[in-house]
């Protein structure tokens, strides 16, 4: 089993980054859902934006050390990456885009206080959580290997 022969640090930092990214996005989603009843609450706007900004370094750990492991192990795949590797990359990269869009929406909400910004951000952060969950399941279950 490949996970049992990997070097410690890249795998640990990749997994820790993924877990904390999910935690930060989950927090942002809870704050955004709470904001449906009080979209004008300044502290919720500030808390959501700060939380989403905190997700950036967590996401960087996930993505950078995922790439480090791939670079070490890609020869073992013989140019034919397994399904779980493909899903991991596609969903992580799509997730980065959705995260940036969500941060932009949270910034719009922070500055304007418009409820629509919070509501769209609720949708995008839900999508992000689903993407990260599917990637996690695919990679931990080694789908298609």
């Amino acid at each position: 089993m490949i996970a049992f022969s990997r070097p410690f640090w890249p795998l640990f930092l990749h997994v820790l980054g993924a877990m904390t990214t999910v935690g930060a996005i989950l927090t942002a989603l809870l704050l955004l859902l709470a904001a449906w009843k009080r979209p004008d609450a300044v502290f919720l706007r500030r808390a959501t934006f700060t939380t989403l900004l905190a997700a950036i370094p967590f996401y960087a750990l996930l993505r950078v050390f995922g790439q480090v492991m791939y670079n070490r192990e890609k020869d073992a795949f013989g140019g034919n990456d397994p399904t779980w590797v493909g899903i991991g990359f596609i969903f992580a990269d799509a997730g980065a885009l959705v995260l940036l869009i969500t941060i932009g929406l949270a910034f719009w909400w922070l500055r304007s206080g418009k409820a629509i910004a919070a509501r769209i951000a609720t949708g995008t952060s839900s999508v992000l959580l689903v993407l990260l969950t599917i990637a996690m399941l695919a990679m931990s279950g080694k789908w298609g290997s």
């Binding site: 877990m19 709470a34 502290f43 931990s140 789908w143």
Partner: protein, 157 residues
């Protein structure tokens, strides 16, 4: 996917629930500490209860699927790193439970102050920043990370 892959996936999914839920609780606690009004601190601390089902599912799932994997992968009963992970798992659960009870106590105090004028008193500020409670929460986090380190490192295997 064979049985072992299923078990690994469920074990890792449970670990995700545990660490992601704990991260959410930690972020909400930090946001509550930084809040300006008791009503805001109470609201943020109250949101932690929505992360609790995830944490509980993670605590139970990591243990259940971990023990199943222990048997399935044929590790011996005397495998040191598994016992070390179990010790840290118990420590993390105990400290997390104690930290949670302390947060609940602070939330109740914040709700009382919110109802009585919503001005942050020095007493509530001190409760939010209580070094003892923070130390318990940080220790729970460190113990959880230690389980993750041991499970990935597998020292001696």
């Amino acid at each position: 996917m064979d049985k072992t892959q299923w078990l690994l996936m469920l074990h890792i999914a449970a670990a995700f629930c545990l660490v992601a839920g704990s991260t959410a609780a930690a972020i909400l606690n930090v946001l509550a500490i930084r809040s300006e009004k008791p009503s805001e601190a109470a609201f943020l601390l109250k949101l932690i209860k929505y992360a609790l089902p995830l944490i509980f599912a993670g605590v139970l799932g990591t243990l259940l699927f971990g023990i199943w994997l222990w048997h399935d992968l044929g590790f011996g009963i005397g495998t040191g790193w598994i016992w070390a992970a179990l010790v840290f798992w118990v420590l993390a659960s105990a400290l997390g439970g104690r930290g949670g009870r302390s947060q609940e106590h602070v939330r109740e105090a914040a709700e009382r102050e919110a109802a009585a004028g919503d001005t942050m008193s020095g007493e509530l500020r001190a409760m939010l920043r209580d070094p003892k409670a923070l130390a318990v929460n940080y220790a729970a986090g460190v113990a959880t990370i230690a389980v993750l380190v041991i499970m990935i490192w597998k020292p001696g295997s």
